[in-house]
Amino acid sequence: MLIQALILFLVLDAAMLAALLLRPRLIGGPGGRLVAFLAFFLLPGAALALGTQMHLEKSKSTEFCLSCHEMEPYGQSLLVDSSDHLPAQHFQNKRIDQDHACFTCHTNYTMYGDVKAKIAGLKHLWVHYVGTVPEQIELYQPYQNRECLHCHGGARSFEENDFHVDMLEDLRAGEVSCLECHDLGHDVADLADMEMWREELPKEGL
């Protein structure tokens, strides 16, 4: 829907600009001034706003994150055939939306979480194109339980789990990290030795 609207704006604006430039007398009249305002400001401005919104949405997709070669091993780690590997289990069993796998777990579930995630994304772009990609990629901040509890909090399977029952308050307060027990994340260093569920990420999931 967004793309169709954007295409419509682009075509309409190009036609209006062409008409105004080929027949400059049109600009002189009050109607012409309004058309000029539309063609020179409102439509391009709207196209820019819509396009930005569209690209921000796209930047949440798994395909977008994995388009940088540095992220390829992390994409591969979603295919590890092991029930201990947290990202792989979430991805393969559709516990997260496969189209937005990276974003779902790595965004920040606070009021301005999306904005913070986008700012972090801009840092990634800077490092990718201008800076030096570190040998070992690390998160900017320690992973917060909040991101896990966004989905698992309140779920019966989580709250009544024998291991969780005694430490629920500590988990909620962040005093015990989920990763203390669930410590197998993107184990990219050992990828070559691992069995894979499949060769490539499912296309329908991206």
Binding site: A14, F40, Y129
Partner: protein
């Protein structure tokens, strides 16, 4: 012929060509829109950068030039 002064007054002529600044503004906007259109099919970092750094920048410059022309009264 003006009755009061006896002089002829010329009617203001409609412009034959669009002001130069408007032409440049339109060119910037069209290039910007074209770049935006090209990036619509891209789902990667390069597409995002091309959209904002290319399409966005050209469009914004075009809009600014248009407003300069409008505010200066076409002088």
């Amino acid at each position: 012929m003006s009755e009061a002064t006896g002089q002829t007054t010329a009617m203001p002529k409609a412009p034959e060509r669009a002001p130069r600044r408007l032409l440049i503004a339109a060119a910037f906007i069209l290039v910007g829109l074209l770049l935006e259109a090209v990036t619509m099919g891209m789902n990667n970092a390069a597409g995002f950068l091309l959209f904002l750094g290319g399409g966005g920048l050209f469009t914004a410059v075009g809009i600014i030039l248009y407003f300069r022309e409008v505010l200066s009264g076409g002088s």
